[in-house]
Subunit: 297 residues, 2 copies
């Protein structure tokens, strides 16, 4: 039973193809690691990688990737629309197969110690968090890079690894362990952004909606539609179909129908299986029945 | 890109655990083959195995399995409720990954030649068929084992491999290549078998319903429900959601709702993905996005 760990690091370069390539290449070079997705956004000035493999190989790839990013990215010159705190900004490890959370936390902390050793203050988050007020990325990233010099003078912000000292070139890094995050966008057959906005408010956790759902409303100018763009941070407790049907019902109350949906980036098989179980009312269906599942060690 | 072939042989023993075990064990012994499902039915007096791996390994396992079944099963003594023609009755090969139909047909025919060499008349069916009137199992199996001695005197029934001579102990074998077959049962919240029967007639191909759907009505006495029990023989042309929604609509016209559904045995990932795409209206979703997919060579 091979253990499989996924890593989805975000680093603060989304424009310079040379730098993006050099950082990504550190992952490609590691035997036993498979790069499954890359995404660079020029407006955000940020890139996200997704790769997986056995934990030791994933740790090695992540160390090499981070060292290269630290070497090439200077936060003093970084401008982008996405919140960020460091050259290597957020590094989530996600246990995928035959791994307990605790094992993944151990890997995340090994990575944290490594990066700390390179002079970068490191904070542990989610399942690796050490303090209740430093659990989520938004909590830790408050004030972004620009606030770091001041924050690091406060004992409440002493890092979990690395020096309690501002690193102007590299900023600080957040690493830890979380569940796979599902990016679900639902398009509505209307151009009325207010409708999408009201639905986003209804479904998202922060305004009293469904647990583990973050949602914003967007206008899709070209498609002449609006979108509820979401992250589901715990698909076991709040499954995709529950979110989908909540949106369908809300939209219906405005006389608006769903034009389509998108799942962006990697999705775990378990979440796909749950969609099947819900819509076919096939509660006894097991992931083990999927033929391809037998091809994985 | 490893090639993966699935084999789902049916052999004519569902009662004697010793024989079932010895036959199944021939598959277990072959390195590189994974046995993913076994099902023995005493009433049918028949067993079905599902195993997969690289084509060469699957062929080796199938030869060994069939040779053992021929050795241990005597069709002169076989009684069971399921139609059958031979000790090794039907041997479908199913291309699962990185394989063309033609390659699987080549494997099926190698198996046919092997079994023919053991003195068993062999007929090729579905994608390996050699004559239009010998395409399906029911076409070839007409009259069952009991009709074989006579049929083999007719040039229209000269086998595709092996001798045109009745083998009393082993009967004859059907082998070939088909798509994965999906076993879908839909339970209805009524005890009225007539409703299930009318729905079965409406959806099945043989009475003018959906292509590639076989359906019968069953009474589930203990559960106090009725069931439409189906095989979908081409889930690409007639996907699971289409069948499900046809049944929901028909049942609704009798004022009956769907109590639940079961997918029995192995299901290909592609069919699961189609369910998600249909119900989430996520037409752009790709199997490649499923994290576990990246773990398969």
């Amino acid at each position: 039973m091979t253990k499989v760990l996924l890593c989805e690091p975000n680093f603060s370069e989304g424009r310079d193809a040379g730098i993006i390539e050099q950082v990504t290449d550190q992952v490609r070079r590691v035997t036993g690691v498979r790069l499954i997705d890359t995404n660079s956004d020029a407006d955000h000035n940020r890139s996200v990688l997704s790769y997986l493999g056995e934990p030791v190989a994933v740790l090695a790839a992540t160390k090499a990737m981070a060292a290269k990013a630290i070497e090439l990215i200077d936060m003093r010159k970084h401008i982008g629309s996405h919140p960020r705190m460091g050259a290597v900004d957020v590094v989530p490890f996600v246990p995928v197969r035959n791994m307990e959370t605790a094992e993944a936390v151990h890997i995340a902390r090994q990575f944290g110690e490594f990066l700390g050793g390179l002079g970068v203050p490191v904070y542990y988050y989610e399942d690796a968090a050490t303090r209740p007020n430093r659990k989520t990325v938004p909590q830790i990233r408050t004030g972004q890079y620009e606030a770091l010099a001041e924050k690091l003078k406060d004992p409440g912000w002493s890092p979990d690894a690395g020096p309690a000292k501002f690193n102007a070139a590299s900023g600080a890094t957040i690493t830890g362990v979380r569940m796979p995050l599902i990016a679900l966008n639902v398009n509505l057959a209307t151009t009325d952004l207010a409708v999408a906005d009201r639905i986003a408010r209804t479904v998202r956790e922060s305004s009293g909606g469904l647990p583990h759902v973050r949602a914003i409303a967007l206008s899709l100018e070209e498609a002449r539609m609006v979108q509820v763009s979401m992250n589901l941070t715990n698909f076991r407790e709040t499954p995709i179909p529950q979110v989908m049907e909540a949106i369908r019902s809300e939209a219906g109350s405005y006389g608006v129908s769903i034009a389509g949906a998108e799942l962006v980036g990697p999705v775990p098989l378990e979440a796909v299986t749950e969609v099947l179980k819900r819509y076919l009312q096939a509660q006894d269906f097991s992931m083990e029945q999927i033929i391809e599942n037998a091809l994985i060690d």
